[in-house]
């Protein structure tokens, strides 16, 4: 069965499945990053999170990140799955797996992937605190269009 490398899912993320997608005979290193729901943030208690995505565009942007990685780090394979809906403490919101012949690229590309997800992928998180709820945005503490341009170069430009 064909498995897409870039997915937005409603169900709990199975890490082994995502690792399998990038496992290859040429790979000597596989890094994964799991973003999990943390209970405490700046002294405030989270009860659960809710993620919403603009799904078709989010998948496109994840694929875009994969493309950027393959351009920057030779012979890497990339799989990213982001979950949406309600997530309880310790559940996995995002899983990134990168394989490469050597470990340096696998670490670097993985960290690049999560940074880019936080910049360009249309997914939003709503924190449900003990004492209220709020949509989180602008985590990077940057204004929009900091460069006056959207955060990716469109094809053909």
């Amino acid at each position: 069965m064909f498995k897409s490398m870039f997915e937005i899912v409603d169900e709990p993320i199975q890490v082994e499945e995502i690792i399998k997608k990038v496992t290859r005979r040429e790979a000597g290193a596989i890094t994964t990053f799991l973003g999990t729901v943390r209970e405490w943030t700046n002294g405030r208690k989270t009860i659960y999170l809710e993620y919403q995505a603009y799904k078709p565009m989010a998948i496109k942007m994840l694929a875009q990140i994969g493309k950027e990685i393959k351009e920057q780090w030779e012979n890497t394979e990339v799989a990213i799955t982001h979950r949406v809906g309600r997530l309880d403490i310790s559940e996995i919101a995002v899983a990134i797996a990168i394989s490469s012949p050597h470990r340096k690229a696998a670490y670097e590309a993985n960290e690049y992937a999560i940074e880019r997800i936080k910049q360009i992928v249309p997914i939003w998180k709503k924190e449900h605190w003990e004492d209220g709820e709020t949509w989180i945005g602008d985590q990077l503490e940057k204004v929009n269009y900091p460069s006056g341009e959207p955060p990716i170069i469109k094809e053909g430009n």
Binding site: K118, I120, V121, I123, W124, K126, W135, I136, G137, P150
Partner: protein
């Protein structure tokens, strides 16, 4: 007719997931002005815009049939 998709806090402020805007051609900035006057969404100046799932610039043209998404600062990951 242009379809405008709303997400996160914008969806809650407006109380809808999508808005239909009756226009045949206008820029991203013009669309935002239109939305500001019709709906009470001051945040619209602070959101990015995508046209047919591609990030767009303020001067980019939207034409009838396009799907526009208003994209508040993202917070995935």
């Amino acid at each position: 007719m242009i379809t405008v998709l709303l997400f996160a806090q914008l969806q809650e402020v407006v109380g809808k997931e999508r808005i239909q805007v009756d226009a045949s051609e206008l820029t991203v900035t013009e669309l935002k002005e239109k939305l500001k006057s019709k709906y009470n969404i001051p945040q619209v100046d602070q959101v990015m815009t995508a046209i047919n799932e591609e990030y767009a610039l303020p001067d980019d043209l939207i034409t009838s049939g396009d799907i526009v998404a208003l994209i508040p600062p993202v917070s995935g990951g």
